[in-house]
C-alpha cells in the first residue's frame, strides 16, 4: 500500500502553519515514518501530491533505532518516535504528522526541547558524592538511566507547559537514579527541588503511563522518586 504523509509544516517559528501531503511508496515491510521522511528529502525534486514543488521537510533524527529520542513527533495524534512507527502498523492510508505541540517550533517537525535540559539543571540533578549503589537498587537505577529525554511523556501531560513551575515526568528518571545512589539525608537539595517542581505539580493523571517509547514504567519511577524525595525512604521495587 502507498501512504500519504500529511505533514503540518511551518518554515519558521513565527510563520504560518500549513499542511502538505506527500506520497510515499514503501520499499520494505520495516519502513517507518523515519524512512519515509528520509526518502522524501533525498528526492532530487520534492513535490507534494498536487505536484507543487516543496522545500525538504525539516526533522531531527540520529540513531534510527529507538535509542536517542531525536525523532519524537506526533503521528496520528500520538507522540512517538518516527523510527519506531512502522507504516504497516497504520490502518489508514493517510498519516497525520505534526511536531510535538508542547515545545516551540523551530521549523516543520523540529521543536526546541532545550527546556528539558534546563529543567534538569534547575533541579540540581547531579551526584554530590560518590555513588552508593547496593545490588537491590541496581535494576531501578538501570531503568531510570534509560530515559532518552524525547519529550513524549510531556506531550500528553495535562499539567506540563514550557516555562511552567511543574517540570513533568521527564525529570523523574534522572531524579530516581540519583536518589537511588545517594543516602536520602545527603540529597536534601534534590529532594526539596523535586518536591517543588515535580511532586507538587503532578496531578497524578498518569497520562504518561504507557507512552514512553523506551517502555519505561513511569508510574514505578514516580512512586520511587516520591518515596525517596518526599517520604524519605528507599523503595527499589
Amino acid at each position: 500500500m502507498n501512504y500519504i504523509l500529511n505533514i503540518l509544516r511551518r518554515r519558521r517559528g513565527d510563520a504560518k502553519s500549513y499542511r502538505q501531503r506527500f506520497l510515499y511508496e514503501p520499499v520494505t515491510e520495516g519502513d517507518t515514518i523515519a524512512t519515509a521522511l528520509t526518502e522524501l528529502n533525498n528526492r532530487e525534486v520534492l513535490a507534494d501530491t498536487d505536484g507543487t514543488p516543496a522545500e525538504p521537510v525539516e526533522w531531527e533524527c540520529s540513531c534510527l533505532q529507538k535509542k536517542c529520542g531525536a525523532c519524537a513527533m506526533v503521528i496520528n495524534g500520538r507522540p512517538q518516535l518516527a523510527c519506531a512507527a512502522r507504516l504497516i502498523d497504520f490502518s489508514r492510508q493517510e498519516i497525520m504528522i505534526e511536531p510535538l505541540r508542547k515545545f516551540p517550533v523551530v521549523c516543520d517537525l523540529v521543536v526546541d526541547r532545550s527546556i528539558l535540559f534546563e529543567n534538569l539543571k534547575t533541579l540540581h540533578l547531579w551526584l554530590s558524592r560518590e555513588a552508593e549503589l547496593p545490588d537491590r537498587y541496581r535494576e531501578l537505577a538501570y531503568q531510570a538511566s534509560e530515559c532518552i529525554q524525547c519529550g513524549c511523556c510531556l506531550e500528553v501531560c495535562p499539567n506540563f507547559c514550557v516555562n511552567g513551575r511543574f517540570f513533568g515526568m521527564s525529570s523523574v528518571p534522572v531524579t530516581t537514579r540519583l536518589l537511588t545512589e545517594m543516602p536520602v539525608n545527603e540529597a536534601k537539595e534534590i529532594a526539596k527541588l523535586y518536591a517543588r517542581h515535580t511532586f507538587a505539580g503532578c496531578g497524578k493523571s498518569l497520562a504518561c503511563k504507557d507512552i514512553c517509547p523506551k517502555g519505561i514504567d513511569t508510574e514505578k519511577l514516580l512512586v520511587n522518586a516520591n518515596a525517596m524525595a518526599v517520604w524519605k525512604r528507599r523503595k527499589g521495587k
Binding site: N41, V106, L127, R138, Y142, S145, Q149
Partner: protein, 529 residues
C-alpha cells in the same frame, strides 16, 4: 567567566563529555558544541561493555594481558605507549564510572565482567547490553554539575562549518546554530570529538545519522593529517533494518551465542571448528572474513545464523533482556527460541584524524579524541575498547589542551555555509562502497579513485561536498597504497601481512591534492609530523 581559560570541544558524546569533565575538574571552562544534545550522540548506542583488567572474576587478569590483546587484535599497528596508557588506566576509569553511578552488572559490590572478542579472559564490564547508554546517562549528569557552575557551556544544535588554520596553528572554529541559523566564531584551542565517518557510507553502518563525517572533511581540508583511513571495521553480527544496519552486540556471543551456517543440510559451527581456542569470540576482522568465506561455499546454504537459543534464563533476564527486546522489535524473531540471520556491517572506523599520544593533531592547538581520532585500535578494534578509548582519549586530549589553554572569545559573525546535498552524498557513498568493501583489490580501487576524480571535476559539488569527496579519495588512496592484508584491510591481490607495512598510513592535503605517505608508528610525545 570571560577571563577564564577555555577550550572548545566539538561533539558531546563520550569523548567530548570526558574532555569537558576533565577540564572542569581542573578549573578550565569549555564550550561544548554539538549538533544535538548528548542524549542523541552515537555513544548511547554502544552496547556490550567496556574493557578493564579489574580481575574480579578469579582469572588472574592483568593490564599487561589487556595491553597484549589490544596490540595483537590491532595487528601491531598501534602505538605501544598509547595502548599502554589506555590499558593501565582502564581499571581506574571503570571504577570512576561506577563511582558516578553507572549501574554495571555486579554482585555484592563486585563488578561482573563478560567475555568479549579477541580476549581470553573476562574483562568487559557491562550494564546488560546498554552499557553506552548507562555510561552516557551518568556522564551527562556529571557534566550538568559543571554546567551549573558555568564551567561547561553547552551549545547544542550547533554544527561545525569551518576550521580556520593560519601557519599550521588553529585560529578559530565557526559553527552554525541550526535553530537560529546564526553563526558563531570561537577562538582558542579545540578538541574534535566528532565521531566516525558513518556518513560516508550512508545507511550502511550501525552508527547514527549525526556522524556525517563532515567535520572530519572540514578538518582534512583545513590541513589536519589523517591516519589509517583504510581500516574500516565490519562487525560480524549486524542485521539490516530500515535505513541502517542494526548491531547485534558481541555480548550475545560473549554470553554463549554460536555462529553456524547450514552445510550439506546440517549446522556447521565453523568458528568453533576452525578456532578451537576463542571460537566465536575471535577478533571481529577474523569472524567477518570467515563469515564471508563460508557464505560463498557451494556446500553451504543461506545466511550465517547466530544461535542464542542455548543461553540460560538468567542470562536473558539479567544480561541480555534489552538485546532480546530489540531483536523482537525490529526483526520479529524471538532469539530465545530461534537463531537469527546475521551478516557483517560497517561498525567502526579505526582510522581518523592523526594524533600523537597526547592527542595533538598535526595542527597546533587542535586536538582529537574518540572515534574521530586514529589511536589505540590499530588495524582492528577489540570489542569493549571503543568506549574506553573515547573516555581515556577525551581525558588525555583535555589534559594536553589545558596546558596551552588561554582566554577565548565567542563572536557573532556573518557567514554562509551550504549543507551537504543528498545526491552528492549518495554518489560518494556508491563510489566508496565499490572500492572499500570487506575484500579489496587494486582494479576496483583505481576505478573508484577515477570516479571520484570525475566527480571532483564535474563542477557539481559545493564546498562541503568537495571536502567530503577529497577525504573519501584519501580513504581510497590509503587502501590502494597499503599493499598487504592486515586486520580489517583485506586485499585479495596482497593476501599476506607484510612487515614492510607495519607503519601508519598518513593522508594529507598539499596544494589541493591528496597525498599519501607511510610513517613510523608514532611513539613520540611531540607533533605527529
Amino acid at each position: 567567566m570571560s577571563d577564564m581559560k577555555t577550550v572548545n570541544i566539538i561533539g558531546a558524546g563520550l569523548a567530548g563529555l570526558s574532555a569537558a569533565i576533565t577540564l572542569a575538574r581542573a578549573g578550565v571552562s569549555s564550550n561544548l558544541i554539538s549538533s544535538q544534545p548528548s542524549e542523541r550522540a552515537q555513544s548511547v548506542l554502544a552496547e556490550g561493555g567496556i574493557n578493564a583488567s579489574l580481575n574480579t572474576m578469579g582469572e588472574h587478569d592483568t593490564t599487561t594481558e589487556h595491553f597484549a590483546d589490544t596490540m595483537k587484535g590491532g595487528c601491531f599497528l598501534s602505538s605501544e605507549r598509547a595502548v599502554g596508557g589506555l590499558t593501565e588506566n582502564a581499571p581506574s576509569i571503570v571504577k570512576e564510572l561506577a563511582a558516578l553511578g553507572v549501574p554495571f552488572n555486579a554482585q555484592n559490590g563486585r563488578l561482573l565482567l563478560r567475555n568479549f572478542g579477541g580476549q581470553k579472559k573476562k574483562r568487559t564490564a557491562h550494564a546488560k547490553s546498554s552499557t553506552g547508554k548507562m555510561i552516557m546517562s551518568a556522564l551527562i549528569d556529571e557534566a550538568r554539575k559543571y554546567e551549573a557552575q558555568g564551567l561547561i557551556r553547552r551549545f547544542p544544535n550547533h554544527e561545525l562549518i569551518c576550521i580556520d588554520v593560519h601557519d599550521n596553528v588553529l585560529a578559530n572554529v565557526t559553527v552554525r546554530d541550526n535553530y537560529s541559523r546564526k553563526y558563531l566564531r570561537f577562538t582558542g584551542a579545540a578538541i574534535l570529538c566528532t565521531g566516525g565517518l558513518n556518513g560516508f557510507f550512508e545507511g550502511m553502518t550501525t552508527g547514527t545519522t549525526q556522524n556525517t563525517g563532515s567535520a572530519a572533511a572540514i578538518a582534512f581540508c583545513a590541513g589536519a593529517e589523517f591516519a589509517n583511513l583504510e581500516f574500516i571495521q565490519y562487525h560480524p553480527t549486524t542485521v539490516s533494518i530500515s535505513g541502517k544496519r542494526m548491531l547485534i552486540s558481541e555480548a550475545a556471543r560473549g554470553e554463549g551465542g554460536r555462529l553456524f551456517i547450514m552445510r550439506n543440510g546440517k549446522p556447521w559451527y565453523f568458528m568453533e571448528e576452525k578456532y578451537p581456542e576463542l571460537g566465536n569470540l575471535m577478533p571481529r576482522d577474523v569472524v567477518s572474513r570467515e563469515m564471508t568465506a563460508v557464505v560463498s561455499m557451494p556446500e553451504c546454504t543461506g545466511s550465517v545464523m547466530l544461535d542464542l537459543t542455548g543461553l540460560s534464563a538468567d542470562v536473558w533476564s539479567g544480561k541480555l533482556s534489552d538485546l532480546r527486546a530489540e531483536i523482537m522489535s525490529y526483526m520479529n524473531i524471538d532469539p530465545k527460541l530461534s537463531p537469527i540471520p546475521v551478516s557483517p556491517g560497517i561498525h567502526y572506523f579505526m582510522g581518523g584524524i592523526r594524533v600523537n599520544i597526547r592527542h595533538e593533531t598535526s595542527v597546533k592547538n587542535l586536538y582529537a579524541a574518540g572515534e574521530a581520532a586514529c589511536q589505540y585500535h590499530g588495524a582492528n578494534r577489540l570489542g569493549g575498547n571503543s568506549m574506553l578509548g573515547a573516555i581515556y582519549g577525551g581525558k588525555v586530549a583535555a589534559l594536553s589542551a589545558l596546558e596551552t589553554a588561554a582566554k577565548a572569545s565567542i563572536d557573532s559573525v556573518n557567514a554562509k555555509a551550504e549543507s551537504s546535498l543528498p545526491k552528492n552524498r549518495t554518489k560518494l557513498c556508491c563510489i566508496l562502497s565499490s572500492g572499500l568493501g570487506m575484500i579489496r583489490s587494486e582494479q576496483p580501487l583505481i576505478k573508484a579513485v577515477a570516479d571520484l576524480d570525475e566527480l571532483l571535476k564535474s563542477g557539481t559539488l559545493n564546498e562541503i561536498d568537495r571536502s567530503r569527496t577529497l577525504l573519501g579519495k584519501a580513504m581510497l588512496l590509503s587502501a590502494l597504497a597499503r599493499k598487504e592484508s592486515r586486520g580489517a584491510h583485506t586485499r585479495s591481490d596482497y593476501p599476506h601481512t607484510s612487515a614492510d607495512f607495519q607503519k601508519t598510513t598518513v593522508a594529507g592535503m598539499h596544494n589541493g591534492e591528496v597525498i599519501i605517505r607511510f610513517a613510523a608508528i608514532d611513539e613520540s610525545e611531540g607533533s605527529p609530523k
